[in-house]
């Protein structure tokens, strides 16, 4: 009897042992947290997000946050809205020493105004983390498209990681282009020819808003990029050089005025806000709009079913002395506060967000482009991956006009005369005169 009991007990123990062993084997087959994620302690973590609760972006971050909460006991992730409207309040929190653990757009390597956060030791140096591997085995730094790296660095060190590739491109209505047998313009003359054909057919070529001057300024910035190049513009805008020294500026101003004089812009654009201008484009009342690639995500709920969107970069300007292939854009940068008590956990969250799998999910959910290599283009932004790849190693130029928007006084000095040119209140010569006198009064950037 005792022997039978002992045998039964041994059998039970053996079965339990086999089960346990099988379970542990299954666990071993699952992807275990990689070395970079090992030894991290859980805790409360706050991240700044760009879209409110319920949005696709919020849900995407929450998915990653949930995985952290599962893998690191004691972790509780909170999501704080940190979009444009909330920035002043969030920045006050930074200044008072109570920042979110992870924040968005607090740093941009191309915006000197944000470098103070690094200089004052408020941001975590992410260089070592970026030289490590992502959970999918790729080296984090190498997985980022080179064009976007300057936005993440200060003096060669990384203080941010990228999320979403934002590029200024002409968005066009493919149906309208096909109806009138039009091709994507490659040169300025092509663009004028396309616009004229559209106008002759009774279609407004370009939707634009007159109530937000930098959107009109996009035309000016692109023309100057092609005509005189970024260094010449920066010398005028930030360096105290007179705009009159380079005749390319006047040529660009005349080309811009030509667009206005030919009546290519949306009727009444002067009083149309940007949402309406965008709606007019998606309603088929204008064939093209020069806008950031956030457009589709932003207008997602208003885009009519079956709308076919095409993209092309601002055309080349033959004879121009500037950068003929350059693009304006940026990326939404995410940084970790040095004061964070869970900085390792914060880095781990960003690391998980950077995998190809997560980037593909984000691209699909938000219909934005990814700044990471090998992530397919979203279906609503056809060809964006091709455009980004073609940018190759050349750095992307920060919009608007190399970050001038961060300096209100200089931004107004630069863009307000452009707005007046669009409204036919200034001639090209007068516009340059006004810009010059404004900038001369402000002086070079300190």
């Amino acid at each position: 009897m005792a022997k039978r009991l002992l045998r039964s007990a041994l059998v039970v123990v053996a079965i339990v042992a086999m089960c346990l062993s099988a379970t542990s084997c299954r666990k071993a087959q699952q992807p275990s947290p990689p070395p970079e994620g090992a030894g991290i302690k859980g805790g409360p973590l706050e991240i700044g997000v760009l879209w409110p609760e319920g949005s696709a972006e919020y849900q995407w971050w929450k998915g990653i946050g949930d995985s952290l909460e599962k893998d690191y006991p004691g972790t509780k992730v909170t999501y704080t809205l940190a979009n444009t409207q909330q920035r002043p309040a969030i920045e006050l929190r930074w200044k008072s020493g109570n920042p979110p653990d992870v924040d968005v757009v607090i740093f941009n390597g191309q915006v000197p105004e944000t470098h103070d956060y690094v200089k004052n030791g408020m941001l975590l140096d992410l260089t070592d983390a970026l030289r490590g591997k992502l959970p999918d085995g790729t080296v984090w730094e190498e997985s980022i498209l080179p064009s976007f790296k300057p936005f993440l660095q200060y003096e060669g060190r990384y203080y941010a990681v990228p999320m979403d590739a934002v590029v200024m491109l002409f968005h066009y209505n493919k149906d309208i282009f096909e109806r009138y047998n039009l091709q994507e313009p490659r040169t300025w003359d092509d663009l004028l020819a396309v616009a004229q054909k559209l106008k002759d057919a009774g279609v407004t070529p370009f939707a634009v808003t007159g109530t937000f001057t930098p959107y009109m300024g996009l035309y000016w910035d692109h023309l100057l990029l092609r005509m005189v190049g970024p260094e010449a513009v920066k010398a005028v805008l930030f360096g105290g050089t007179s705009i009159k020294e380079n005749p390319g500026f006047l040529k660009a101003a005349k080309m811009l005025r030509e667009l206005v004089d030919r009546g290519y812009f949306l009727k009444g654009f002067e009083g149309v806000d940007f949402t309406t201008a965008q709606m007019e484009f998606f309603k088929g009342n204008a064939a093209m709009i020069l806008m950031g690639t956030w457009l589709v995500g932003e207008m997602k709920d208003s885009i009519p079913p079956g709308f076919r969107l095409g993209l092309f970069p601002f055309p080349e300007v033959p004879g121009g002395q500037g950068d003929q292939a350059g693009l304006f854009g940026t990326t939404f940068t995410y940084s970790v506060a040095k004061a964070s008590k869970v900085s390792d956990l914060a880095v781990e969250m960003l690391r998980r967000a950077a995998t190809k799998e997560q980037q593909a999910k984000r691209v699909e959910a938000l219909q934005t482009a990814s700044p990471y290599k090998g992530v397919p283009a979203p279906k609503d932004l056809p060809g964006i991956d091709r455009i980004l790849e073609s940018a190759g190693q050349s750095p992307m130029h920060l919009y608007y006009s190399y970050g001038v928007i961060w300096d209100k006084e200089r931004s107004d000095a630069w863009y307000n005369p452009v707005g007046k040119l669009f409204m036919k209140k200034l001639t090209p010569e007068q516009m340059l005169e006004e810009i010059d006198s404004n900038l001369q009064r402000i002086g070079p950037r300190k």
Binding site: E113, T211, G268, F269, G271, V272, D412, G419, M423
Partner: protein, 284 residues
């Protein structure tokens, strides 16, 4: 015996008004971007205020808003308040209609008018086109000629009721016998208004004017919501400019110098107007 009652109020005033004010003035002498510790800059910020073209243009716009707003508010305000001194059917309804916009929040009123002025979707241009006045269907908020009056009208529409109410309170104080005596003497209604109403309500109008100036010179919300200072900066007022310098450029030191300068401008304007409008008060 008196001090304990004053202390709580005084403490609140010092903490909520005086200290921030002094702090603003102190920071206005620094170069401070909010992140690095403030660096003493002497009068550099104030020197810059004097040479800053945007400050001067925004000050001109502020004064234009204030002047136009004053004419419209006090013109219509006096007219309505005086009209409401008469007895007529539906007087309460008219009073309610005039006061109704005051119940809208500034944001709602600004957005409502932004929609009304919309060049393609707004009812104003649709109405003008319908009655054959297409030439008057303008891009109200996008045209450098019409943007200031358009914003001003929205602002006056929203606040008019309150000023009518305040002026009415002043008119109600005038003894009816004085009107009766003037009418018995054969005075026309215009003469009654000019020689009886205005002199007797002058003190109140003067106080209201000063109050108006203080709040009008700080106008922010309507401009910020309706035009954000556009088109091409023609509606930029000092307050929106200060906001931009402080929160867009993060140049807090200069923003505070602008704010302090504007405080001095408001002080000077109100003192001058108060002095100029002072008359020997009429006892009644």
């Amino acid at each position: 015996m008196f001090i304990p009652f004053v202390v709580p109020g005084l403490a609140l005033y010092v903490l909520a008004v005086l200290l921030p004010l002094l702090q603003t003035v102190a920071f206005s002498f620094t170069d401070w971007r909010g992140v690095t510790p403030p660096k003493f800059a002497g009068v550099e910020n104030y020197r810059h205020v004097f040479t800053d073209p945007t400050f001067w243009s925004s000050l001109r716009h502020t004064l234009a808003f204030t002047a136009l707003g004053y004419v419209l508010t006090f013109g219509f305000g006096l007219f309505f308040a005086w009209s409401l001194t008469y007895r007529f059917r539906g007087k309460h309804v008219v009073r309610a209609i005039i006061f109704l916009p005051c119940l809208f929040s500034v944001l709602v009123a600004a957005l409502l008018w932004k929609f009304i002025y919309h060049p393609t979707l707004g009812p104003l241009n649709a109405l003008l086109s319908k009655v054959g006045l297409d030439s008057l269907a303008l891009t109200w908020l996008g045209d450098v000629r019409t943007a200031v009056p358009a914003v001003c009208l929205a602002w006056v529409w929203q606040s008019l009721g309150l000023w009518v109410l305040l002026i009415s309170a002043g008119l109600e104080r005038i003894p009816p016998e004085l009107y009766e005596a003037a009418r018995v003497d054969g005075a026309s209604e215009w003469a009654v208004f000019r020689h009886v109403t205005i002199p007797l309500v002058w003190e109140i109008l003067r106080v209201l004017t000063v109050l108006w100036l203080i709040q009008a010179l700080q106008q922010f919300a309507f401009v910020f919501v309706m035009t954000k200072g556009g088109p091409a900066g023609v509606t930029e007022v000092v307050t929106t400019y200060i906001y931009g310098v402080a929160f867009q450029s993060r140049n807090y030191g200069y923003g505070m110098a602008l704010a302090t300068s504007m405080m001095l401008v408001i002080l000077a304007v109100t003192l001058v107007v108060n002095r100029l409008a002072r008359k020997e008060s009429v006892e009644f």
